[in-house]
Structure formats: structure tokens, C-alpha cells
Amino acid sequence: MKNTINQAFHSPKFVFGFVIFAIMLCLAILVPAFSKADPLAMQAAACYRPGTYFSIADAIEAKKYNLKMDIKSHRFDKTLTQEDKDSMVEWLVKFGNVEESEIPADAEEFVVFWINNYKDIKIKGLTNAKKQYYRKLTAKLSAMLKTSDIVIAGEDPDTGELIEENKIEFNSFTNVNDVTVRKTFLLGTDNFGRDEFIELCHAVGTSLKMGLLAGTIATIIGLILGLLSGYLGGIVDDIIVFITNLFTVIPSFVLIILISFSVDQSARGVLLVGIIIGATSWTWTTRSVRSQVISLRNRDHVNMSKLSGHSLIRIVFEDILPYIASYVVMAFILQISSAILAEAQLSMLGLGPATTKVATLGLMMNWAMSAQTPLAGQWWAFLPVIVSIALVAFSLNLMNTGLDQVFNPQLRD
């Protein structure tokens, strides 16, 4: 056993898979351990992009500094894209009766030139959307040209007069560290305004737990049926093979959908979905265990054990199980990975665990889908989930192939 583990860690594939898996596991264990807050508590409005948010009121109150800086051209550099510039030039040349050589190169001069020449007129050959685009662009740019100070006024409770409370000069700045109330969303927020990162860490943990449950159930059922069918043979074998074939012929995913659908929404928790997935995906384990046992039961060491008068149970546990243990471990790892994927698929269809207490990877995908985040370009709502699912499945499969190299001497270099 010790030797096997030692050898496993000499296989680069296994080590690579193990490292990825360990990182995922650490995230799933450590993050929930340190953040006691409810992962499903709403923190913000829907789908805020990743970044640090701080209170504007605090920023206004914070100490101000005056920096000498060409703020306008910085603004233009940051907001005016090459695409915008190109379409503006196109408009000027086509409809503004301007020669291309007259257009100034400097950003600020260019914007001023645009505002002077642009007319919101009816032009044939320009779609409504394009017209809208030019209108919005112009509004944005003219706002940027402003360099006046901003005055914050409060209403006098007695007279209703506006009194200047705070004045923000054009070139006043504040140190980010002076703003006391801040919040960082590493991966933004989802469509319910929850912190995506915390939610994801919890979801990975839940999905792994569910995968472990489903994998354990599938492996135990598969192992018991495979051992019985392979070792006893005869009529028991026929019946078990028949049932196994039945389950193999009906695609297990369809079966999962049907069972999930027939279970009441309120009762369908993570535990139950795990059991459902486990109870439908044991066929592969059964078949492989059965074929292994059949080849083992005619081996001489089993015959010798029989001749020593050992009972059936003892023969199974001492002479058969140790020989297929490595195989079962590998099947178990694969079952976990496929159960996590099955849960994701099921949840995407809306048949996954119905819960408001915990998130699973599949549920997060489902929420991101139903809020149409891919269409809105809100990548942070679904991409990290996809990457997590892929990493977990990939690392488990990598560990499995690594173990295959360890257990199967023919695959060793």
C-alpha cells in the first residue's frame, strides 16, 4: 500500500492532477472556513463586474489633494477607442463635408472639432442604431470636455434653499486608502447580487461532497453486484447481468432526468440528487468488476483457498477483493468526476437540487443561464464556474490515468 502511494507520486500525471485537485479542495475548505457570512446573502444588485467598490460619499468626505495633470486628454485616451475614432472620421468625411486632411490628430482638438462639426440631422443611408450611437457618443464626449468644479449642495431644512456643502474641484484627487468603506468582488456578483467568488468556493465544496456521495453509492452497488455476479455465476449472474444490461441500454442520463422530475421539487436536495446519480451510474463498475472476478475465480490461488476450506465470504474478501482493489479505486475516482458533471447537466435543465441554502456548480450555471449573462457579456457569472467544473473533472481524470500507470505494469515506461 505504502509502496503504491509512493509510486503514484512518482507519476507526473498523478502529481499534476493531485496538485490541481488539492488547490480546488483548499479553496472549497478554507474560504468557507474563514468567511462566516452566508454565501447566498445578497450583497449588491445583479451582475456587477469584478473589482473593488468604494463608497462615493466617503470619497467626497475624504481628504483632497490637487494634482497637476492633464485630466482631459487622459480621459479621452481611456474612453475614446480607435473604433470610435474611425467611425467619427467616417461620418465627418461622408456627411460633414470635411476633407480628411483637415481633421486634427490631437485627441482633445479632435473632440472639439467633432462637437463643432457634428449635426444631429436626418441622413439617408444611416441606420437608426448607428444614429443613436453617434448621439450617445457626442453626449459622452461633451460631458468630458467640461472642466468646471462640482458643487455638492444640501437643502436647508427651514428655507428650502440650497447651501453649498462641499466643492470638488476639477483637479482634486483623493487617496484610495483614505476611503474607509470598500468592498472587493473578486469575481463580481451574480444575477442575484451575491459575491460570486465566495459562492463558487462553497459550490465547489458542495459539488465535491455530492460527487463523493454519488461515487460511493455507485461504487458500493457496482462492487457488490459485480462480486456476486462474477463469483457465484449461474442464475445469480444471469439475473444481475440482465439488470445491468437494462440499465446500460436506457441512457442513465435520461433515467436521472426522469427520477429527478418525479421527485417533488421541495424534497430534491443535494443529498437526494447525489443518491439519484449514484443509483443510476453503477453499471459500468458492475460490468468491469464482474469480468475481473470471473478471470480471478478460476485462478489457482482461489482454488488453493477453497482447498484450505475457507468460506465464500472469506475467499471474496481475502482472495478476490485485494486483487481488484486498485481497479475499484480508479473506478471510484471516475465516478466522482462523472457525478459532478451529471449534477451540472441536471441543474442546467433545472432538475438539480432545489435549494436556497447552498449553491452547487450546476445551480450556478443554471442561474447564469437564466439571467442571460452570456448574452450580456457578463463573463464573470459563468466562466469561473465552467473553469471550476473543468478543473475538477480534469484533475480527477488525470489522477485516474496516473494511477492506471502505477497499477498497470504494461503502461509503465
Partner: protein, 274 residues
């Protein structure tokens, strides 16, 4: 080899019309076809046949590892009854086996001590004091020229093929069965170790007075060790007799062919007869 007068001794294992059919319907194959045999006490019997002749099937039937389709096997004059597990255990106290491939005979997860302890337990020595058990194991190991002290806490695959096969004999020494079925015990080990194994088996037979049934494809080996030879072809015994009669004066055409096809040392090996 000492050939004693075998007619006086009663058979300890016999079979009447023993048949084994595998599969059913169109895929029916008759592996052993109505064979009769009488193995006399204290004899060394060889069953010789080429691969596919059914010699392994008959050995498994004799051992009770697979069922008999038709016919009956008699053990020490009585019809054999191995219907329940308890009765099987009782039967296996009287008949034991050594298998062909020493590397496949041992459970590689079990230590050598456990293998030998099993034998002591089977002979009813479960409650013996630890020292007594160790004494028995040491005695068995020294019988086959192995040192028990060097074997404790070792796994069988750490031994060489010849040593493993000797350990198997040590096992038989502890079990003291009436009949030993040796299925090609020397075919996987080197010629030099073969003589050692054979010597030990013969010594063991004299020590505990058991009957040895050799299953082999090597007709030379069968001739060297056995008193009686059964030649098997396609599930039937085509020739049965004393070793000298069968080998030096074969009657069945199959036996004649078998003997002529084996290369020899003193006689000319006629290659033109193929």
C-alpha cells in the same frame, strides 16, 4: 522406483463413468467422456495428455472444485458426498493439490506464515499454543530445506519459483492428506530444481503414506516417477497400465505416437514419421 504389488491394496479413489460437459445446446463440449479409474493407495499415478485432452478438467472434478456432470467418484470405497460446505471441508482434509504455476498459486497479499497457519488450523490445530504452531511450521519448512526463520514476514513472491513450489510441499506436509493431486508441479521450474521437487514429493509420500496423482504432459516425467500411467486423449483414457508396460510396449496408436514424437537420448529420434 519401487513397484509393489498393487493388486492387494484397495483403491482409495475411483471413478465410474465420470463425465464433464461444458456449455449447453450447440456450444456443448464434452471435456471428459465417461472415464473409469481406480487409484490404489500408496501408488504414484500419472495422467498424461496433451493440452486440451481434459486432464485439467478431470483433476478439478477429482478435487471437487467443479461439479461432475455424470457418473460418480468414490473416495475410500464410499461414494463421495460434497454437497455442503462442511462436507467439502471434510473431503479436502483427505485430498489436496499442488498447482502448475507457483507464481499464481499464492495470494500475493498474504504472508507465508498465514499460508502455513491455515494448514495447521485446518488440521484442527487452531487452539495450539503459539510455540507449538511455530514448531510445526519450522518442521514443515525444514522438511523441504527451507528455513522458517527466513520466511517469516515475507511474501511468497519474494521467493524463487522452486522455493515457492517447495513451500507448497511444506503445506502438504502439514496437511497430511490421503491423496495428493499434483498438476504439472515441475513444468514451470528449471530442470535443475525439478529433481529436488520430485525427490521431496517422493520422500513425502513415504513419510505420510499418501497416494500421488501426477497430471502432466511430459511422458518422460510420467515414466520416471509413476507406477501406473493413464494416457488421455480427447476426454478418454486410451491406455492404462503399469508404467513399464505403457511406455516400453505401448498398444494404443495415440500412445505410440506420443512416445515417438518425444526427442530421446539413447534411441534415434525418427523425424520422417511426421
Amino acid at each position: 522406483m519401487v513397484v509393489t504389488n498393487t493388486t492387494e491394496r484397495k483403491p482409495c479413489l475411483s471413478g465410474r463413468g465420470v463425465t464433464k460437459v461444458f456449455g449447453f445446446g450447440n456450444q456443448k463440449t464434452v471435456a471428459v467422456d465417461h472415464v473409469d479409474f481406480d487409484f490404489r493407495e500408496g501408488d504414484i499415478i500419472s495422467i498424461v495428455g496433451e493440452s486440451g485432452s481434459g486432464k485439467t478438467t478431470i483433476s478439478k472434478m477429482i478435487l471437487g472444485l467443479i461439479g461432475v456432470t455424470e457418473g460418480e467418484i468414490f473416495f475410500q470405497g464410499q461414494p463421495r458426498d460434497i454437497k455442503t460446505h462442511r462436507k467439502k471441508q471434510e473431503y479436502w482434509k483427505g485430498i489436496q493439490a499442488i498447482f502448475q504455476d507457483p507464481f499464481a498459486t499464492y495470494n500475493m497479499f498474504k504472508k507465508i506464515d498465514e499460508v502455513l497457519l491455515d494448514c495447521i488450523n485446518m488440521r484442527g490445530g487452531k487452539n495450539l499454543p503459539k510455540e507449538e504452531k511455530e514448531r510445526l511450521m519450522t518442521e514443515a519448512c525444514s522438511f523441504v530445506n527451507l528455513k522458517y526463520a527466513e520466511l517469516t514476514n515475507k511474501y511468497p513472491f519474494e521467493l524463487s519459483g522452486g522455493q515457492m513450489q517447495r513451500l507448497m510441499i511444506a503445506r502438504i506436509f502439514l496437511l497430511k492428506p490421503k491423496i495428493l493431486l499434483a498438476d504439472e508441479p515441475t513444468s514451470m521450474i528449471d530442470a535443475c530444481s525439478r529433481a529436488t521437487i520430485l525427490d521431496m514429493l517422493l520422500k513425502l509420500r513415504d513419510e505420510i503414506n499418501m497416494t500421488i496423482v501426477f497430471i502432466t504432459h511430459d511422458i518422460g516425467l510420467a515414466y520416471y516417477v509413476s507406477d501406473t500411467i493413464y494416457i488421455m486423449e480427447h476426454g478418454k483414457f486410451v491406455e492404462v497400465g503399469k508404467a513399464d508396460d505403457v511406455i516400453l510396449n505401448p498398444q494404443a496408436p495415440y500412445t505410440k505416437r506420443l512416445i515417438s514424437d518425444v526427442p530421446k537420448i539413447h534411441e534415434e529420434w525418427d523425424l520422417s514419421t511426421v
